[in-house]
Point group: D2
Chain length 294, copies 4
């Protein structure tokens, strides 16, 4: 298939490369030209502007946040140029307000819109092992299924409204953030009793929680290794904010998310803005009066 | 080895059976005679009273709570009768105050005391796959290591003070309770958006959280299956209380544990005392105004 | 002075009437004509549209929320018609984003902008006893001070940036919401012990908390009297949301505000949207398993 | 009346002095002899031991905590010596477990027991303006009413079970702690926006919250004046703990109390154990990244 690709950061670059590997033709664009070099070497065509990405069978967006999507799709009126038969697939994590705005913009131009969120970090994306959650019109999803097959290990259809894919992603991200906070509180408790947090958590993350999420964050937290960030703390705050907003719009109290929000703000107020989001464990430690070398 | 065994509930029964299977001799006692029948059939000797369990090489206690231990060891002055060379191993989940009381009682009678807590539900215990965390005097642990080998898949030594084994267990249990609450909040969010919580959580618990703890509780919560309890809600409340108490004694705020405490109290106030502890997910749902069939 | 007045709900009506009483000339407008009848009888001129309110010495806005201000000032481009020497005074409780938007709009038209928030319910407004917190350019505040004198018992200048008046108001409202939740938790505790919550709280609100805020909400809560609302629950949610937003923009965790947010969502999810904001006490009671007649 | 008086700390001393002033005869005892000098000068008889305080018409206990009461009444078996017609009045703030223990001890010796908790700091006690909440047998309360009249400005009867007086006190103290946290969060918000917290809070505590509790703590917090403590932070933690315990025993979630508990632990972990309990406001400030001079 002929695929436009918007947003070639760490995730997008890996995903686009897998499309190329599966034999699709990719025309990519990113605000930052730096990100496009590798893809060009891998066989992608580089678009001169976003407008050049909408003439194929599908357009995949992997932009970083609501604002970037708004700029390209709404302010830039991207769909004005789009090929009518194109399916537009947004795979980024965005707010429900942004989804609603995109749905309306696509409807106005009569372009099919599919939301397809993913679980998996850049290394998972590179291995084409993403878990993809797609939502929207079934026929439109059918048409881009070959692209999902090239990027992920399976695609689950989670609803008929595009926003359903975003809510599913928001729910999963919230659960990851909760796991981080839980590890952080456990580690603070262990350290305060002068026990070896790495040793004890190693038992826990190789038995009860024998899964990469816990192992990765468990080790980061007990080794106090938060730079360079694998996932930025400010993006973690964004994700928790999306969960709280989604909860607010449907009257769903989320007390763990509220605790997380306060932890992220505390981290940012105390100088950890540029660290990995696992650095909220530093907040739990500071509340317990722990020093870094305790 | 000749082993006394106190407390043959679901966990204790499975652990004692594995000792027998490994060739050890077991003399068991429980307040409730009903629990002893199966063990007798499996080759255990049944003690007429707790006092008859302390004449061997080791005594293993798997009693349900602080009070049961206090009754047997302190009020009943069990150690008065103990063989001096015996190693006493407490494998239950108890408070730090109870540990301190037991340590003092053993010291007074000059009996070795080892704390060895475990991760694993009754089916894991039956398969001799428990993760054991031992703490106390290294030589004493060495002597009972063959028993641990018969009951668990590995033994980690987590500290030189017996209470360290309990803190490790408390930390792990807190993390499990946090996982349950996180699933419950996610499920409430999904249901309120009229999405299929079972389908979406299935994606999450077979990708990000592909581990039995999440799969078991994830399915229980999305299917609203809380009876019969696998782990009683009141025991969950007890465990969270132990974490809060341990935190309090060392000045460690544990905000997730505080949220959990409120959720357990809410569940008990609203009629779910006899359910599985995963029923705290009903609290999250009720706060969101969800009915059982939503 | 010649004063335009936008927004004549319960608060605005009382404030405008006091301006008339003090000898000022008032030209009032409201989206809902019904609200204007009383003011006309009291001597106000009724404007045919918002545009007719900006030709005097001052314009006072007492509109209900961000959206109403946006419609009138931004979408309606109200200031296009304004007399250059006019001072525009916004006395409503709005978000900081809205303040920023208004500040920019006034600057673009070179109109003086003063923010002046108030403490006091409609009866306090009617008695001209409001506490007014003004912020902005000192000379501009000087010019409208006679209006403040007519509406309030004192004016405090809380900062040079208009948003400071809003932050002060947000802080005060948050404290009121906290008082309500505190009363609600205390009442739930007393009721659960089958004590007379009205009698005990009466001791507390006539000794420690001998002030109308506690007395009013204390009685509403112990008598479970939440309709008709004196202050709508959804406006309470809005105010807590403003506090959380202000906290977020400056990295200030506000854990009580987070608890309040969850309580408001719970109340709305469970059918209390149309009640007084003191009905968050019903959430505390429900969590404790209390029925209305307990 | 002839009155024994146990515990002559800051509160007890002032209360006993008022009994003397009203013409009652007082025989006082305290663990620390230092506290007794002033009372002797005021006309009190000083007991050689606690046992000498139980031969009169009434015994008033104003001991600092559960442990002190347990030592004197239970371990010391004080009531063994008591005059049968004596009424024993406990006016301290204790746990419900302690109340139950005292009730049982009095019943065993057939001595009347009245619980009578108070609101008011030492200066209020000195002015004989305490608010007294009495609970227990009505006839017994009638007999000691003259003593209450000498110490307080009014006595409210809050229940027939002695514990009811303690629950009422616990509820009131919880509300005071909530007010402190609310002020602390508001102050952190104001300071982070570089506004004058003293000036703005002054508006709030002379309008909405025009009552000594808010004025005292409001000024302490905005002036960061936490030593010497008026009420020790550890006693505040004790009071919040009593509220949480009372809530737990009756299945009442108290989310504000949970937040407070975490704040007190944070304060103690970070070096503020010896300060006034208003120093939990330092926790709110630290979470916001504020330095003392911000």
């Amino acid at each position: 298939m002929q695929v436009g690709f918007l947003g070639t950061g760490r995730m997008g670059k890996a995903m686009a490369a897998n499309l190329l590997r599966a034999g699709h033709r990719v025309r990519a664009w990113d605000k930052s030209p730096a990100a496009l070099g590798e893809l060009k070497a891998a066989g992608a065509e580089i678009a001169a502007g976003a407008a050049e990405t909408v003439s194929g069978d599908a357009l995949i967006s992997m932009l970083p946040n609501d604002q970037a999507l708004h700029e390209v799709f709404i302010a830039g009126d991207l769909l004005r140029h789009a090929r009518p038969a194109m399916v537009s697939v947004n795979m980024g994590t965005v707010s429900l307000d942004c989804v609603d705005e995109l749905v309306a913009a696509h409807k106005a131009r009569n372009i099919s819109y599919v939301a397809a969120t993913v679980f998996g970090r850049p290394d998972v994306a590179a291995a084409a092992k993403l878990s993809i959650m797609a939502a929207g019109d079934a026929a439109a999803i059918d048409r881009v299924q070959p692209l999902f097959d090239a990027m992920g290990q399976r695609t689950s259809r989670v609803g008929l409204e595009p926003r359903h894919a975003n809510i599913a992603k928001i729910a999963g991200n919230l659960m990851v953030a909760c796991a981080i906070e839980a590890i952080g509180e456990a580690a603070a408790l262990l350290r305060k009793y002068r026990m070896s947090a790495p040793d004890v958590l190693d038992v826990i993350i190789t038995s009860l929680f024998n899964v990469p999420v816990y192992q990765g964050y468990g080790r980061a937290i007990t080794q106090q290794q938060y730079v360079p960030p694998g996932f930025d703390l400010v993006l973690g705050m964004k994700d928790v904010g999306l969960a709280l907003k989604a909860g607010e719009q449907a009257n769903v109290p989320l007390p763990f998310a509220s605790v997380l929000r306060d932890a992220f703000l505390d981290a940012m107020a105390n100088g950890d803005t540029d660290k990995d989001w696992a650095a909220i464990a530093r907040v739990a430690a500071r509340k317990a009066g722990l020093q870094d070398n305790d």
